[in-house]
């Protein structure tokens, strides 16, 4: 593109807008559905459809392990996948602040294109708006994804049953801590990276191997603790988690100690919680471990019948020295934009 910065003209629908679409977006998202450049994308799908939408406003927009572009693809791909569905198509809406350097936009769009390719989805339609300086912060992206549901009833937060095993695909808090540390300009002794990754391939394998999967959820904002509380509430059960089993990378643990944070409440962007009947736990773990994004999969807890010490909807944590306490929901913490 000839200009070095995004100007208001690029959102006008005129010539420069067209150039932006063809030279940046279409080039990096390259696929036949998008390339028709009709008013809408024509799609062919089978059976029940899962659909999810999410807005991404992370600040900073580039960080170790990813950027707002791959986050916008993977975040929505993962949400669709959590219904046991195969994500197929994405739409994306960009809100760009006037003055954003062109090379930054190009990098982010390229990163979205790569992420889509990795996840095996097509970005088939989109929209771009440019707003005056100060009306948005650099770049906001909204993506909507649809996918084909493989099995009904689909896995759901309402399906956890007493006796089920609670499995985790890997370490907690990597994304949340990386962003917090960057935002606050805190020098951390050990490097941390966002875990931003697509989970749909691992989910497809899980669904194939173990049709009995009761619940799949990705613990994004609010982290493991919040997501487990939601599941316990929706399913009308209690959950107990063994703290010493929850994987936390050393850099994240060290950063949390400095910042006074709890990794169990930090966001993840490439991890999932899988709840299955205990007898399928080993098989599910083996399946997850056969993927790089699930290499650290472990069982971290058990679903319990409510009433025995814990009420319906409560989550308890068994601490390393053998104590027990509630693992509650966070109360509107002062968190920066992390996704």
């Amino acid at each position: 593109m000839s200009d070095n910065y995004i100007l208001l003209d690029y959102g006008s629908g005129g010539k420069s807008a067209q150039r932006l679409v063809s030279q940046v977006f279409v080039r990096h998202f390259a696929n036949p559905v998008l390339e028709t450049l009709d008013d809408a994308a024509l799609l062919h799908m089978n059976g029940p459809i899962a659909m999810s939408t999410d807005g991404y406003t992370v600040d900073p927009i580039e960080f170790p392990g990813g950027d707002i572009g791959c986050l916008a693809v993977n975040g929505t791909v993962n949400d669709v996948a959590m219904l046991g569905a195969v994500p197929k198509y994405l739409s994306c809406g960009f809100i760009i602040e006037e003055g954003l350097p062109m090379d930054v936009l190009e990098r982010i769009v390229a990163s979205m294109g790569n992420a889509a390719k990795k996840a095996g989805v097509l970005i088939v339609t989109g929209d771009t708006k440019v707003v005056p300086k100060g009306a948005a912060d650099k770049l906001f992206i909204t993506t909507t994804g649809i996918g084909e549901v493989q099995r009904t009833p689909a896995p759901s937060g309402h399906n956890a049953k007493p006796g089920d095993a609670v499995l985790l695909s890997g370490s907690m808090g990597d994304h949340g801590l990386t962003i917090m540390a960057l935002r606050e300009g805190l020098p951390l002794e050990m490097e941390t990276r966002s875990d931003c990754a697509p989970l749909n391939h691992m989910v497809a394998a899980l669904m194939q191997a173990i049709p009995q999967v009761h619940t799949l959820r990705d613990p994004t904002r609010g982290g493991l603790a919040t997501t487990l509380n939601e599941i316990a509430g929706q399913s009308g059960v209690a959950i107990e988690v063994e703290e010493s089993q929850v994987p936390v990378n050393p850099g994240v643990a060290a950063g949390c100690a400095v910042l006074g944070l709890d990794p169990l409440y930090l966001a993840n962007e490439g991890k999932l919680i899988c709840i299955v009947p205990q007898e399928f736990a080993e098989q599910a773990l083996a399946t997850m471990r056969s993927f790089p994004e699930g290499a650290g999969a472990v069982q971290v807890g058990t679903v319990l019948e409510p009433g025995k010490g814990l009420q319906q909807g409560q989550v308890a944590l068994r601490t390393p020295m053998g104590g027990r306490r509630l693992l509650g929901m966070l109360e509107g913490e002062q968190l920066p934009r992390i996704c």
Partner: protein, 377 residues
């Protein structure tokens, strides 16, 4: 509030803790009601699950140890009044954002309505902000105990040396020993009233490690000397707390009341004289209002006249208007160890972390909030 971390893996070792718990159980020779007076201790005891493992006979009470919880309504009202002024940027530790003032209004809400409120991790960040925005006046909200006060004092000195004209501090710092003294007085009085068999009373104190890195041990001597109550300065890992409890149990066994230092890896017996000197140079002691407790003599800090240019109270002619304590709240009794939070009729009903009625529910380190978050399992 960000604080230096002296946490050590060694003192969180589950096996060490299990051993200490066994020893504690063996040596305990009667009921012991201990009170911690530091929000970090409250959270550490609940979070580690230690509370569910304490031998029967040991009762854990949480005192007024969270600096955010004890920030008075009238002080919050002053923060909000400042936030409303054009051209003023408020710089604050994040924990204060949620604390509701008189009409339920908080800094968070003020920010949503357009006030400039910036969360900082250190008072020096506030100074940097003042340099970046010379056209605005930056007010740092000085809250906290002896742990944070020296850093704020040093920041004021730096601002003075740099002749910065658009920076001031709204000083609401509070001091720990005068609050302990007030607690011991009411505890003694209530025991006399109801007789020795009363449920109330404090047998021993777990003293705050962070504050003690500045104060040392001497300022607590009156606890043992005048009130014959044993006390131990302790760290924040589970084994620290267990070691301190063991020291308390042993002192009681021997009929001794002393102030001991378990946290010697971070706390020198004479504290940090340099930090205290900076504090003394910038601040003088005043009577201060504590939420849920009231006005305590000599329990707060004010900026000395030499540094009046950096005193937001004076620059903006603010005064603390008296405000009524919240209705139905039992915080006074909770903070004195006379009631546990679930015994308050509002606990978990009208009063929750999302909608706190009293100070103990406001901060995540408050005792009611800790009971609510971590449960009484």
């Amino acid at each position: 509030m960000p604080q230096a971390s002296f946490s050590s893996k060694e003192f969180a070792d589950p096996e060490l803790c299990k051993g200490l718990l066994r020893t504690l159980r063996d040596e305990l020779d009667g009921p012991l009601r201990f009170m911690e007076v530091c929000g970090s201790h409250t959270v550490a005891i609940f979070r580690s699950g230690l509370r569910s493992l304490l031998p029967e006979g040991i009762t854990h009470l949480s005192g007024p140890g969270c600096p955010v919880c004890v920030t008075h309504d009238s002080e919050i009202a002053a923060f909000l009044a400042l936030a409303e002024k054009d051209n003023v940027t408020i710089a604050t530790f994040g924990d204060l954002m949620r604390v509701p003032g008189p009409k339920g209004m908080s800094l968070k809400q003020a920010k949503a309505q357009g006030a400039r409120v910036q969360v900082v991790y250190s008072p020096l960040d506030a100074l940097a902000l003042a340099r970046q925005e010379p056209e605005r006046h930056v007010v740092f909200l000085g809250v906290g105990f002896e742990t944070t006060a020296p850093g704020v004092a040093a920041t004021i000195q730096t601002a003075a040396a740099q002749k910065l004209e658009n920076f001031s501090v709204l000083c609401c710092h509070k001091l720990v020993p005068p609050a302990l003294e007030a607690l011991l007085q009411t505890s003694a009085a209530s025991q006399q009233e109801v007789g020795a068999a009363s449920q109330g009373g404090i047998d021993a104190f777990l003293l705050p490690g962070h504050v003690s890195t500045i104060l040392g041990v001497q300022p607590y001597a009156f606890i043992a000397q005048q009130y014959h109550t044993p006390a131990v300065v302790a760290g924040f890992d589970p084994a620290d707390i267990l070691q301190a409890l063991l020291l308390l149990v042993r002192m009681r066994k021997q009929g001794k009341a002393e102030v001991l230092n378990q946290y010697s890896r971070a706390v020198q017996d004479n504290g940090n004289p340099r930090a205290r000197a900076v504090m003394d140079a910038v601040f003088s002691t005043v009577d201060a209002p504590w939420r849920g407790i009231g006005l305590l003599p000599g329990s707060g800090l004010a900026i000395r006249p030499e540094y009046a240019a950096f005193d937001a109270m004076q620059r903006f002619s603010l005064t603390l208007a008296p405000t009524p304590e919240p209705k139905g709240c039992k915080c006074g009794a909770v903070l004195q160890g006379l009631l546990t939070p679930p015994q308050c009729p509002l606990f978990g009903k009208a009063c929750t972390p999302a909608n706190p009625v009293g100070p103990c529910m406001v901060s995540t380190e408050g005792s009611c909030a800790a009971y609510f978050a971590y449960g009484n399992l």
